[in-house]
């Protein structure tokens, strides 16, 4: 059998495929973070909590309201996004004028509160969400057995990432958003309602996190801690891609998923830190990140 570094080739391909699945989650989450940081300058530490709330929204919908997976894909991001809008209106907007560190502290606090509430409601061991009937079963790729659901996650995530990139980089609305980031007062002078735009951007970023949560619900245990274990990695992904860079967030999300997947074959114990090692190296040699603009 063909081997690479002593590992059989099919095993490597299998791990790469799984890495791609994880990378899809990273990409979707870091995309939201990058959008929020790029356009609002807010380091959104509550991102993992919104991801978790998205998954719980899907669970609650299915368990208590009879809302199936497909509706949850639409409704959970909408609900959690509205919550994000509310938080932006009530708290976050007061902090735009001060050091970004205040925004970080606020969102960190919100994350702790959200986790605490869900823990007291549902317990730390969380809840189980079934794979939707349409996506059950497995695909035989020859080199591995891939659950259909995981293939769907990659497709859904790449599509959403692509659409978001298109919206921001290629449409009129996106152009206005980017202009508002450069010079909010000037854009406002042209008659564009910047505060509303910023509010919607935050809501959209949060909704992306919630969407990732719904996608993750059938794959992992829906638990209050699912976000906090992921958010740190996602931050590292954003730093590697370049703070605020949309393309950087998507590409580095996918690539780091792949690298992490390979680490799990070669030296599993290091799989939880490999992303941070890369982050450290990137910060040393390219402090602005791989896709960031040098200041």
């Amino acid at each position: 059998m063909t081997t690479v570094f002593g590992v059989p080739l099919p095993a490597i391909l299998g791990q790469l495929m799984l890495g791609l699945v994880n990378g899809s989650f990273y990409a979707l989450l870091s995309l939201g973070l990058a959008v929020i940081f790029g356009l609002l300058g807010v380091v959104n530490f509550a991102h993992g909590a919104f991801y978790m709330l998205g998954a719980f929204a899907a669970y609650i919908g299915l368990q208590f309201l009879g809302i199936n997976y497909w509706w949850a894909l639409l409704l959970a991001p909408l609900t959690v996004g509205l919550l994000g809008v509310l938080i932006e209106r009530l708290f976050l907007r007061h902090l735009y004028q001060v050091e970004p560190v205040y925004g970080l502290l606020l969102t960190f606090g919100i994350a702790l509160i959200a986790e605490g509430i869900m823990r007291s409601l549902f317990g730390a061991s969380g809840k189980s969400y079934p794979v939707p009937p349409l996506l059950q079963g497995v695909l035989n790729l020859g080199f591995m057995i891939l659950p259909i659901y995981r293939a769907w996650v990659v497709m859904a995530s790449v599509t959403v990432c692509g659409l978001t990139w298109f919206l921001i980089e290629r449409t009129r609305l996106g152009a206005r958003l980017r202009a508002a980031t450069e010079n909010a007062r000037l854009v406002q002078a042209f008659g564009i309602n910047v505060p509303v735009m910023v509010m919607c951007t935050y809501g959209a970023g949060v909704a992306l996190a919630a969407l990732a949560g719904v996608l993750a619900a059938p794959v992992i245990q829906v638990s209050p801690l699912m976000g906090s274990s992921l958010v740190i990695v996602v931050f590292a992904v954003v730093v590697i891609g370049g703070m605020g860079s949309i393309v950087g967030a998507i590409v580095s999300g996918l690539v780091l998923g792949l690298i992490e997947g390979l680490t799990k074959v070669v030296y599993p114990e290091a799989s939880s830190i490999v992303v941070f090692v890369i982050m450290a190296l990137v910060l040393i040699w390219r402090p602005a990140g791989l896709f960031g603009k040098e200041p």
Binding site: P8, A11, G14, Q15, L18, G19, V21, N22, V43, F45, P100, V101, L104, L105, F108, E115, G116, R119, G123, A124, S125, G126, K127, S128, P130, V131, V138, M144, I145, P147, Y149, R150, V219, I220, Q221, S223, L225, M226, S229, L230, I232, F235, V239, M243, G261, K264, V265, P268, E269, S271, S272, L283, P287, A288, G289, G292, P295
Partner: protein
């Protein structure tokens, strides 16, 4: 950019927040509870563990030797340094007389060193690592509920008897996981089985798919899950999703009732597991479970039941010797038989292990489960000696050779 990196560093620091308890005056009996209150193991004991201690104290009458009984609790966040330093602080400043140890073997090993230095009885309950009464034993440690040796003897033997000879382990990468894997490996080898491989997954891993792929590639018959809490439910869930449970038989080397509840019977049915307590064993266990349920709206885990039992045992010992003097209390504990809803004819061995019956369980199918929390059927009752051997652990320096 450097500013942004600073924020991230700050974020990491924020993760180290900790709560502090209220002070306690002298001339009290002070029971400390050091446990994972918010992490992956928070449902196994957690806040309900504190409730159970208070339940035991109020059942005992609220005072002992005319002294008030105070409970201190803290979240060790699965960090050995937090557990050990809180233990030390309470011993130095709060007149600590006994500590109940929550989940996490790594933290409990660190705490046992403090117990020895400060001469404070330490009843380890949530932690599974058998080294607590082996190489890490101390004159003040009691290992009360279960240990990795018993888990290996229970679950691994049951599965080997059904023909599962070749094993692959997915192991939580810290003291508990490796000790559990070692215990199960011993049983597998002793019964003519083989271990084809193992991967160590970091604590709190959510995606187990790549480890499972490696397990499948090994061609082993049994998938040994040497982990616990959400790690367990996530690995089992992924094993189902990838269809691995069709070709390999999963073995839950440690699963608590709350883990099975979280994973749902649909996913967990047919699993073998070993436990020291199940709420639905007899009228006594059901009576306790009913009271517990009324308080926390869940059925008690083995560890929560053990917290109650250990608290009562400790208070009885204090009452019997008329003092909280650690050496006298330890001597009393070690010579008293333990007979309550938790353990029958239990006794504390020379090395500190509380030897008592353990149960090998099989998780019911959704059809077999007749009422809420009706999850296990008893496959085998192991005597304490079957579970943990007839001799104390020779690697414990206190054991006379």
């Amino acid at each position: 950019m450097t500013r942004n990196s600073k924020f991230l560093a700050l974020g990491a620091l924020l993760g180290l927040y900790a709560s502090s308890p209220a002070g306690a005056a002298a001339d009290q009996v002070v029971i400390g509870d050091i446990d994972d209150m918010s992490g992956v193991y928070a449902d196994v004991l957690g806040q309900a563990g504190v409730d159970v201690i208070n339940m035991a104290i109020s059942d005992f009458g609220g005072t002992v030797l005319g002294k008030k009984i105070t409970v201190l609790s803290v979240d060790h966040q699965n960090k050995p340094d937090i557990g050990a330093s809180k233990f030390r602080e309470w011993a130095d400043q709060n007149g600590l007389t006994m500590v109940l140890g929550g989940s996490n073997t790594g933290v409990s090993i660190a705490m046992s060193k403090v117990a020895a230095a400060k001469k404070v009885p330490f009843i380890a309950i949530g932690a599974g690592g058998a080294s607590l009464t082996g190489v890490d034993c101390t004159p003040y440690t009691v290992h009360y509920a279960y240990d990795t040796t018993a888990l290996g003897n229970g679950t691994a033997s049951a599965i080997i008897k059904e023909g599962g000879k070749t094993w692959f382990f997915i192991t939580a990468d810290y003291a508990f996981g490796t000790q559990l894997q070692d215990a199960a490996t011993k049983v597998v080898l002793a019964n003519g089985g083989k271990v084809l491989g193992a991967v160590r997954a970091p604590l709190g891993t959510t995606d187990y798919s790549s480890f499972l792929l490696q397990a499948q590639a090994s061609g082993a018959q049994v998938l040994g899950l040497a982990n616990a809490g959400t790690d367990f439910s996530n690995s089992l869930k992924a094993a189902n999703e990838f269809g691995i449970t069709k070709t390999m038989k999963p073995a839950a080397l440690l699963a608590f009732l709350t883990d099975i509840h979280a994973a749902t019977l649909q996913t967990a049915q047919g699993l073998y597991l070993t436990t020291g307590f199940y709420w639905d064993l007899n009228d006594q266990t059901r009576a306790f479970a009913k009271r517990f349920f009324a308080k926390v709206n869940r059925m008690p885990t083995m560890d929560q039941a053990a917290f109650y039992s250990a608290t009562i045992q400790y208070l009885n010992a204090v009452k019997a010797v008329g003092s909280t003097d650690s050496d006298k209390v330890m001597a009393q504990l070690k010579k008293t038989k333990i007979n309550d809803f938790f353990a029958k004819d239990g006794y504390i061995r020379e090395d500190g292990l509380m030897v008592h019956s353990m149960y090998v369980m099989k998780v019911k199918t959704p059809a077999e489960s007749k009422y809420p929390w009706d999850y296990y059927k008893v496959v085998k009752v192991m005597t304490g000696e079957e579970a943990d051997g007839t001799q104390p652990d020779p690697s414990c320096p206190m054991v006379k050779k």
